[in-house]
């Protein structure tokens, strides 16, 4: 289950709650990734649109993949405006073994960037501008392109 919040994430609350879930389970690895909005190119915030039905399916597929390796994936993401220096994205892998968790977090975050249906906008002087240059066409993109 993905956790979706309006606005910035409460990183300490989320991470500590996830840590509590593995407390006493004799699992050797908890690897979090916390994405923080950087101040660059005059942006004051980022803003996000999310399409939840496909995001949930995408995440469920990854959760199955993780489960086959004995691991669990966690993910939280913001919707709407997230100011600089705050967090818009947290994911984590919990696993009995370190190597599995390190590999999974890498693959998961990379695929998240390419195939999770989330759209990013820079907020500059209160205006919302689609971050087109930093966006990636999803797998299967161009199916309806008339060039075909």
């Amino acid at each position: 289950m993905i956790e979706i919040y309006n606005g910035p994430l409460d990183v300490k609350e989320v991470i500590s709650r996830w840590l509590d879930e593995i407390n006493g389970k004799n699992w050797g690895a908890f690897i979090p990734f916390v994405g923080i909005v950087r101040k660059e190119d005059g942006i004051e915030a980022l803003s996000f649109d999310i399409y939840e039905p496909i995001l949930e399916k995408w995440f469920d597929d990854w959760q199955k993949k993780a489960k086959e390796k004995g691991a669990i994936l966690k993910m939280a993401h913001s919707r709407g405006v997230v100011p600089v220096f705050t967090s818009s994205y947290i994911s984590a892998v919990m696993s009995p073994k370190r190597r599995i968790a390190l590999d999974l977090i890498d693959e998961f975050v990379e695929d998240f960037k390419a195939n999770a249906p989330i759209w990013k906008y820079d907020v500059i002087d209160g205006e919302r501008i689609y971050a087109e240059a930093r966006s990636t066409a999803m797998n299967g993109a161009g199916l309806m392109s008339k060039k075909d």
């Binding site: 994405g35 996000f48 649109d49 399409y51 039905p53 496909i54 399916k57 993401h77 818009s88 994205y89 975050v109 998240f112 960037k113 390419a114 195939n115 999770a116 249906p117 989330i118 759209w119 990013k120 906008y121 689609y130 971050a131 087109e132 930093r134 966006s135 990636t136 066409a137 999803m138 797998n139 299967g140 993109a141 161009g142 199916l143 309806m144 392109s145 008339k146 060039k147």
Partner: protein, 73 residues
């Protein structure tokens, strides 16, 4: 009728089309230049499942989503 949703930055209201298959949807959408520029780089979902072929028959009430390039995190 099937419903076409344009997600994220495409910024267009959903439309209803009376079509038989995904190829027909593609033909209809490509008539609008403001949409066809997005189609080149967008993925397509039918009832919230990404599809990889246009040779799919549609039934009344189906939902088609157009998903432009993404950037989470």
């Amino acid at each position: 009728m099937v419903k076409i949703e344009f997600l994220g930055p495409i910024g267009k209201e959903p439309i209803l089309l009376d079509v038989k298959n995904l190829n027909d949807v593609s033909k209809e959408l490509n008539k609008d230049e403001n949409i066809s520029i997005w189609l080149e780089k967008s993925a397509v979902a039918l009832n919230d499942m990404i599809v990889n072929s246009l040779d799919i028959e549609l039934k009344d009430g189906d939902k088609i989503s157009i998903l432009p390039p993404v950037c989470g995190g």
